[in-house]
C-alpha cells in the first residue's frame, strides 16, 4: 500500500511540473495528422518557437474553443473546413490577424473578406463523386458522370453519403445542390438520389472509405480524401460532376485572447507561405494550396479542369440559411427517401 501511494505521488509530481518556456505556441490542428506534424516541425525549425500541437476534428475543435472562450488555452486553429472557422469568426471567438493576402487566390481572400480578416483560406478541396471500379464492373453498372446520374434507378442502394446534420462535408453538398439547381429542384433531386442511398453516415469522410473497401459502390465526399485513398491502393475512381461542383476552403484562425499572439501571427504568415504550402504533397495531402505561387501536386484534383461553382460562403455559411436548409432536408429528403 505504501509503495502504491509512493508511486502515485511520484507520478503526480511528474505530471504537475511543466515549466513554461519563453516562446511557445499552442496549436489545434484539424487537418490530417502527418500534415499537422510537418507544419509544426517546419515552423519550429524556422522560428525557434516551441509548438505544442494537438489534432482534433473541426467540430471538436470548435466545441472546445467555444467552451474555453473565457480563458482560451489555444492560440491557433489551423486546418479543417472553412464553415466552422467562419462560425467561430461570427461568434467572435477568433481575431483578425492583419495578414497580407495579396499573393492568395480569390477564394482564399474571399474567406478573409467575409470574416473581416479573422480567418484566411489555406487550401481548397472540391466536392466529388467516387466509385469502386471493381464493384461497379461486377454489378455491370455504368460510371456516373453528373450529379443527376446519381438519381438513376440502377444505382438503388449503392450510394453512400453523409448526413448534413452531423457532417460539414454533406452540408457543403446540400448547399452546392441548392446553388446549382435552385432550392426546390435541389430538394427533389436529393430526394430522388436518396432512394439510392443505402446509409446516411455521421462522418463526412466515411462514405469514401466505405467505397474504397467495397462496402458501398458509390460515395460522395471531398475529392482530396478520395485521392488519398486511391493513391494508397484502393480501386477508387474519382468523378468531377458535369454540372459543376462546390468546394470547401480550409482555413487558419487566431483565437481571441490568444496568450501568444506574436507567435500566432508568425504561424499564419508561415502557413500562407508558398514553399510551405507546396510541401503538403510530402505527406500525401492533395488539397489545392491557396498561395498562387505554391506548386500544385500532380495527383491533386486540377481545379482548373473542374467546373467550380461560385460558392457563396457568406449566405450558405450563415446560421439562418443553414437551419432552414437542414430542416427542409429532414422533411423533404430524409423522410421521403425511405418510402
Amino acid at each position: 500500500m505504501k509503495k502504491l501511494i509512493g508511486t502515485i505521488i511520484i507520478g503526480l509530481s511528474l505530471i504537475g511540473g511543466n515549466a513554461t518556456a519563453a516562446d511557445k505556441l499552442n496549436v489545434v490542428c484539424s487537418a490530417e495528422q502527418p500534415w499537422c506534424d510537418l507544419m509544426a516541425k517546419g515552423f519550429e525549425k524556422q522560428t525557434g518557437i516551441d509548438v505544442s500541437m494537438v489534432r482534433k476534428s473541426t467540430g471538436e475543435s470548435l466545441a472546445q474553443i467555444r467552451a474555453e472562450a473565457a480563458n482560451p488555452k489555444i492560440d491557433i486553429w489551423w486546418g479543417g473546413t472553412g464553415d466552422p472557422h467562419l462560425i467561430a469568426a461570427s461568434e467572435d471567438l477568433t481575431q483578425a490577424s492583419g495578414i497580407d493576402t495579396s499573393d492568395l487566390l480569390g477564394w482564399a481572400v474571399n474567406m478573409s473578406t467575409i470574416s473581416e480578416g479573422k480567418t484566411v483560406g489555406i487550401y481548397a478541396g472540391a466536392l466529388g463523386v467516387a466509385y469502386n471500379r471493381e464493384l461497379l464492373a461486377e454489378k455491370g453498372l455504368k460510371a456516373p458522370s453528373c450529379w443527376k446520374d446519381l438519381a438513376d434507378v440502377s444505382y438503388a442502394k449503392e450510394i453512400q453519403v453523409a448526413n448534413p446534420n452531423s457532417s460539414g462535408t454533406a452540408y457543403t453538398e446540400l448547399a452546392t445542390f441548392v446553388q446549382l439547381f435552385g432550392e426546390d429542384e435541389a430538394m427533389s433531386l436529393l430526394a430522388e438520389i436518396g432512394k439510392n442511398v443505402n446509409q446516411y453516415t455521421k462522418s463526412g469522410s466515411a462514405p469514401s472509405k466505405a467505397a474504397a473497401r467495397g462496402e458501398t459502390t458509390i460515395s460522395i465526399g471531398f475529392m482530396h480524401d478520395m485521392v488519398t485513398l486511391a493513391s494508397s491502393g484502393f480501386p477508387l475512381e474519382i468523378v468531377a460532376p458535369c454540372e459543376g461542383t462546390g468546394y470547401e476552403v480550409g482555413a487558419v484562425s487566431i483565437i481571441k485572447g490568444a496568450k501568444n499572439l506574436e507567435a500566432a501571427k508568425k504561424w499564419v504568415e508561415y502557413s500562407l507561405n508558398a514553399d510551405v504550402q507546396s510541401r503538403s504533397v510530402e505527406v500525401e495531402s492533395y488539397q489545392v494550396p491557396s498561395n498562387s505561387k505554391a506548386t500544385v501536386a500532380p495527383e491533386s484534383p486540377d481545379l482548373a479542369s473542374i467546373k467550380l461553382i461560385d460558392y457563396d460562403f457568406a449566405t450558405y455559411g450563415s446560421t439562418e440559411t443553414r437551419e432552414r436548409l437542414l430542416k427542409r432536408w429532414d422533411r423533404d429528403v430524409k423522410n421521403v427517401a425511405k418510402n
Binding site: 502504491l4 502515485i8 507520478g11 503526480l12 511528474l14 505530471i15 504537475g16 511540473g17 511543466n18 515549466a19 513554461t20 499552442n26 496549436v27 490530417e32 495528422q33 502527418p34 509548438v51 505544442s52 500541437m53 494537438v54 489534432r55 482534433k56 476534428s57 467540430g59 471538436e60 470548435l62 466545441a63 472546445q64 467555444r66 467552451a67 474555453e68 473565457a70 480563458n71 488555452k73 464553415d83 462560425i87 464493384l135 446534420n165 454533406a170 446509409q199 446516411y200 455521421k202 462522418s203 469522410s205 469514401s208 474504397a212 473497401r213 462496402e215 458501398t216 488519398t228 494508397s232 491502393g233 484502393f234 480501386p235 443553414r322 437551419e323 437542414l326 423522410n335 425511405k338 418510402n339
Partner: protein, 730 residues
C-alpha cells in the same frame, strides 16, 4: 476525538502557514515556490494577509487558532464536538465561497486558481467537521468512517455534480439564453426523442427508444454470456479454462473502433464471411450488419467481459455449504443451481446487468462505426455538440433523457434485489466443495461460450493480421511498415524514439497507471460505505457515485472544460484533469463490483474484528481487503483499461503535452490510415494483457476455502444420496 482533531488542526496550520494558497505557474511539485515564499504568487494565506494586507485571509486563520484553543481546554467532549462541527462548516464554507466570490469582486482581489494551500486547508476544515460529527454519532460510527463519507461527498460534488451541472443547465435554455421549463418539457417529451413509430410500421424510432431497446438487449445478453463463462471457469473441469479467461478479457482491452472494423471485414458487404456465403450458398451480399444487429453484436463482444469480471467473484463466493445442504436434502443439481446458487448470485446478476445496460447506453464507438441509420442517444449527443449544427441545449436535453433511462434501471435493480441477504462468505467453518453443474446446464454453457470464444479468437486474429498487411481488406501483402511508422526506434545517435505513436503511448500508460489505483481505491471505499455503513441520504449518495458513468463521455468532456478551464479550479491542459476524469468516470465499476463482493461477506466478520478492539480502518485493511481480492483486481484492471481505451470523454481533454492513444488512433482512422491505427491497437492490447497479468500476480488470489475445487462428477454425492433412495425403494 482529541487526537484526530489535533492532527487536522496541525495539517490546517501547515496549509495556512507554509503552502502557497494559489496555484503556482511552475507546478507545485517542482517546489520552486519554496524559494520565494514571500512573492504574491507563492504566498501562503498568512503571508498574503500579513505582507499584502489581504485581510480576507484572516477568518480561516482565526478559526484554526480558535480550534487549537478549544482542543487545549478541558471541557465537556460533547460541547467540543459541537464546536468542531460549527468551525469546520464555517471554515469550509468560507474557503469555498471566497474562492468563487473573489474572482468577480474588487474587494477580494485574487490570483485566480486555488492551489495546495487552499486545498489542504479545506480538507482540514472538512475533517474537523466530520470528526465532530463522528463524536456526536450523527453520521457513521467513527472518525474514519465519517471522514471517508465526507471526503467522497466533497470529491463527487466537485468532480461530478459541479461540472455536469454546467452542461445540464443548458437543457433549460432558450435560444436567447434565458432559462425556462416549458421549452425543455416540449423538447424532452417530443417524438424526436421517444418516437415509437418503428413498432407501428413507421421507418424509425426516436434515439431514446432505440437506445433503450439496445441497452436492455445488451444487458441481458452480456449477463447471460458472462454467467456462462463464469460457470465454466468455476464449476467445471473444462481444460482450457485459462485460455477462456484470457479470451473473455480481450474485448475489454480493445481500443474502440477496432471491433467494429473487424466485424465489417468479416460480415460487411465486402467481408470475408459474406464472400464465402456468397460463393458456397449463393446468399446475396447485403448490408445487414449496419444497424441494430451490428451494434448489438459489437456491444456483446465488448461488454461481456465486464459481466464476467463482476460475476466470477460472485459465482466463486456462493458458499458450497449451502449447495451441499441442498444436495444432501435430495435436491438434484439443477434444483440446487436454480433454487440455491442462482438466487445467491442475484446481486452479481443485477450489477452485471446494470453495467451492461449503462455501458450500452453510453457506448459511442460501436454505434458510430456500425450504426447505419440506427440512431442512439450517445451518437446524437456527440453530433449535437460537434456536428454541423452545434446545439448544446439539445445535447443537454438528450443527456437528460439518457440519465432518465439510467435512473430507471438503477431503481428497478434496487427493487429487484430488495433487502434480502446474500451473505455466503462467513467466518464459520466452510469446507465444502462447489457442486458441479448438471449436464444440461453444463452443455448449455459450453455451447454458448465456446463458439463465442472462437468468434472472439477470429476477430482478434483478424486484428493482428490486419496490422501486418499493407492495406487491410484490400492489399494483403505482408509488411512491417505500420509498426515502423508508429513505434520506430532510431539507433543512429543513441536511442531515439522516432515513431509517431511514442509520445501518446507513454503518456497514456503513465496516466492510466496513475488513474487505476486511485479509481479502484475510491470505488471500493465507496462500496464499503454503501454496504457496511448506514447514514442519512445513503441512496442519494449511491446514485451520485453512479452519475458520471451514466453520462455520455462527450458531455463529461465538455462539462470538464466548462467547469475547470477557469479559476478557482483550473485544470485544463494538465495530465491531472485526465486522471480525475478517469477516476470519476470509471469509479462506478469499482463501486458495483465492490458492492457485489461485499454483500457476500458476512457482517459478523467485521463485528468480530470491531469487538476485539480494532478500528474501522484496521478492520477494513486486515479483514475486508484480503477477502476482496477479485473485486480489487476487477476494479484495478477495469479502470486501467478504461483509461487507455476510452475516447469520447478524452477527446476534449487531451492537450499537446498530454495526448492519449485513443485520440491518436481516432485521428488515424478518420484519415483512413487503418494500418497504423490497428498496429497501434495491437501494441496497446499486448501492453494491457501484460499489465493485467502483472496485476493478477500482484493482487493474488483470495483464499476463501482450503482450495477451489469442483466436484466433477456424481462420484461423491451420488453414492451418498442415491443409495438411500434405492434402499427405500427396495
Amino acid at each position: 476525538m482529541n487526537k484526530t482533531a489535533t492532527l487536522w488542526v496541525a495539517i490546517g496550520f501547515l496549509g495556512l502557514l507554509f503552502l502557497p494558497w494559489y496555484s503556482v505557474d511552475t507546478g507545485f511539485w517542482s517546489f520552486q515556490w519554496a524559494l520565494a515564499l514571500n512573492n504574491l504568487e507563492n504566498a501562503s494565506a498568512i503571508l498574503q494577509s500579513v505582507l499584502y494586507g489581504r485581510g480576507w485571509f484572516s477568518p480561516p486563520i482565526i478559526l484554526m487558532v480558535t480550534t487549537a484553543g478549544i482542543l487545549c481546554l478541558r471541557t465537556n467532549q460533547d460541547n467540543k464536538a459541537k464546536q468542531l462541527i460549527v468551525i469546520g462548516a464555517l471554515g469550509l464554507g468560507y474557503v469555498i465561497a471566497h474562492s468563487f466570490l473573489s474572482l468577480e469582486s474588487e474587494l477580494l482581489p485574487s490570483n485566480g486558481a486555488v492551489g495546495a494551500g487552499a486545498f489542504v486547508t479545506s480538507f482540514a476544515f472538512l475533517f474537523l467537521l466530520t470528526t465532530g460529527l463522528a463524536h456526536m454519532r450523527q453520521v457513521g460510527s467513527d472518525a474514519f468512517i465519517t471522514g471517508l463519507i465526507g471526503t467522497i461527498i466533497v470529491l463527487v460534488a466537485t468532480f461530478v455534480f459541479f461540472p455536469i451541472s454546467h452542461v445540464l443547465i443548458r437543457a433549460f435554455e432558450y435560444p436567447d439564453g434565458s432559462l425556462g421549463i416549458v421549452r425543455f418539457l416540449s423538447r424532452i417529451l417530443s417524438g424526436d426523442v421517444w418516437g415509437i413509430s418503428c413498432f407501428t410500421g413507421g421507418d424509425h424510432c426516436g434515439p431514446a427508444i432505440n437506445s433503450l431497446i439496445l441497452a436492455v438487449a445488451t444487458g441481458i445478453g452480456t449477463t447471460a454470456l458472462g454467467l456462462s463463462f463464469a460457470l465454466i471457469a468455476t464449476r467445471t473441469q473444462f481444460r482450457a479454462k485459462k485460455t477462456l479467461r484470457i479470451l473473455t478479457v480481450l474485448p475489454i482491452i480493445t481500443p474502440p473502433f477496432v471491433i467494429g472494423l473487424s466485424l465489417i471485414l468479416l460480415f460487411g458487404r465486402a467481408g470475408v464471411v459474406t464472400d464465402w456465403l456468397n460463393i458456397l450458398f449463393e446468399i446475396e451480399k447485403s448490408r445487414w450488419l449496419y444497424g441494430f444487429t451490428g451494434v448489438y453484436l459489437s456491444q456483446l463482444l465488448s461488454f461481456t467481459p465486464i459481466a464476467f469480471l463482476v460475476l466470477i467473484g460472485v459465482v466463486e463466493g456462493v458458499s458450497p455449504s449451502m449447495e451441499e445442504a441442498s444436495l444432501t436434502m435430495r435436491a438434484n443439481r439443477w434444483q440446487t443451481f436454480s433454487n440455491v446458487s442462482l438466487p445467491l448470485m442475484k446481486p452479481g446478476l443485477a450489477n452485471a446487468f446494470l453495467l451492461g445496460f449503462i455501458e450500452s447506453l453510453a457506448d459511442f464507438g460501436n454505434p458510430l462505426v456500425l450504426g447505419g441509420d440506427f440512431n442512439v442517444l450517445s451518437t446524437e449527443i456527440y453530433f449535437a455538440i460537434v456536428g454541423a449544427v452545434a446545439d448544446t441545449s439539445r445535447a443537454a436535453v438528450l443527456g437528460i433523457a439518457l440519465l432518465t433511462l439510467t435512473v430507471a434501471a438503477f431503481l428497478i435493480q434496487r427493487r429487484w434485489l430488495g433487502n434480502k441477504s446474500y451473505t455466503s462468505v462467513t467466518g464459520k467453518g466452510d469446507s465444502g466443495q462447489h457442486s458441479g453443474l448438471n449436464p444440461a446446464l453444463k452443455w448449455a454453457c459450453y455451447l454458448t461460450s465456446i463458439p463465442w470464444a472462437i468468434f472472439t479468437l477470429i476477430i482478434y486474429g483478424m486484428i493482428v493480421y490486419g496490422s501486418f498487411v499493407s492495406l487491410w481488406g484490400y492489399d494483403n501483402s505482408f509488411t512491417l511498415k505500420h509498426y515502423q511508422q508508429a513505434f520506430g526506434i532510431d539507433f543512429r545517435d543513441g536511442m531515439f524514439l522516432s515513431g509517431s505513436a511514442w509520445d501518446s503511448f507513454l503518456t497514456t500508460i503513465k496516466i492510466a497507471s496513475l488513474a487505476a489505483p486511485l479509481t479502484a481505491l475510491v470505488g471500493l471505499l465507496t462500496a464499503y460505505l454503501l454496504v457496511r455503513q448506514n447514514f442519512k441520504g445513503k441512496s442519494v449518495f449511491e446514485f451520485g457515485t453512479m452519475l458520471s458513468f451514466a453520462i455520455p463521455g462527450t458531455v463529461v468532456g465538455i462539462s470538464y472544460i466548462l467547469a475547470f478551464n477557469v479559476p478557482p479550479i483550473e485544470l485544463t491542459g494538465t495530465g491531472l484533469i485526465l486522471i480525475i476524469a478517469f477516476m470519476f468516470r470509471n469509479m462506478p465499476v469499482g463501486v458495483r463490483g465492490g458492492i457485489a463482493a461485499l454483500s457476500q461477506l458476512d457482517k459478523s466478520l467485521d463485528e468480530a474484528s470491531l469487538m476485539l478492539g480494532a478500528t474501522s480502518f484496521t478492520t477494513l485493511r486486515r479483514v475486508i481487503t484480503p477477502l476482496m481480492g477479485p473485486a480489487i483486481l476487477a476494479a484495478l484492471i477495469y479502470s486501467f483499461v478504461r483509461a487507455i481505451t476510452s475516447v469520447s470523454a478524452v477527446i476534449f481533454l487531451v492537450s499537446a503535452e498530454h495526448n492519449m492513444a485513443t485520440s491518436f488512433i481516432v485521428g488515424r482512422v478518420e484519415n483512413g490510415e487503418f494500418g497504423i491505427a490497428i498496429a497501434y491497437s495491437v501494441v496497446l492490447i499486448l501492453t494491457m494483457l501484460a499489465a493485467i497479468t502483472f496485476l493478477q500476480m500482484l493482487v493474488g488470489r483470495r483464499k476463501l476455502r482450503r482450495e477451489n475445487r469442483v466436484s466433477d462428477s456424481n462420484r461423491i454425492y451420488s453414492r451418498e444420496i442415491e443409495q438411500p433412495i434405492k434402499g427405500t425403494a427396495l
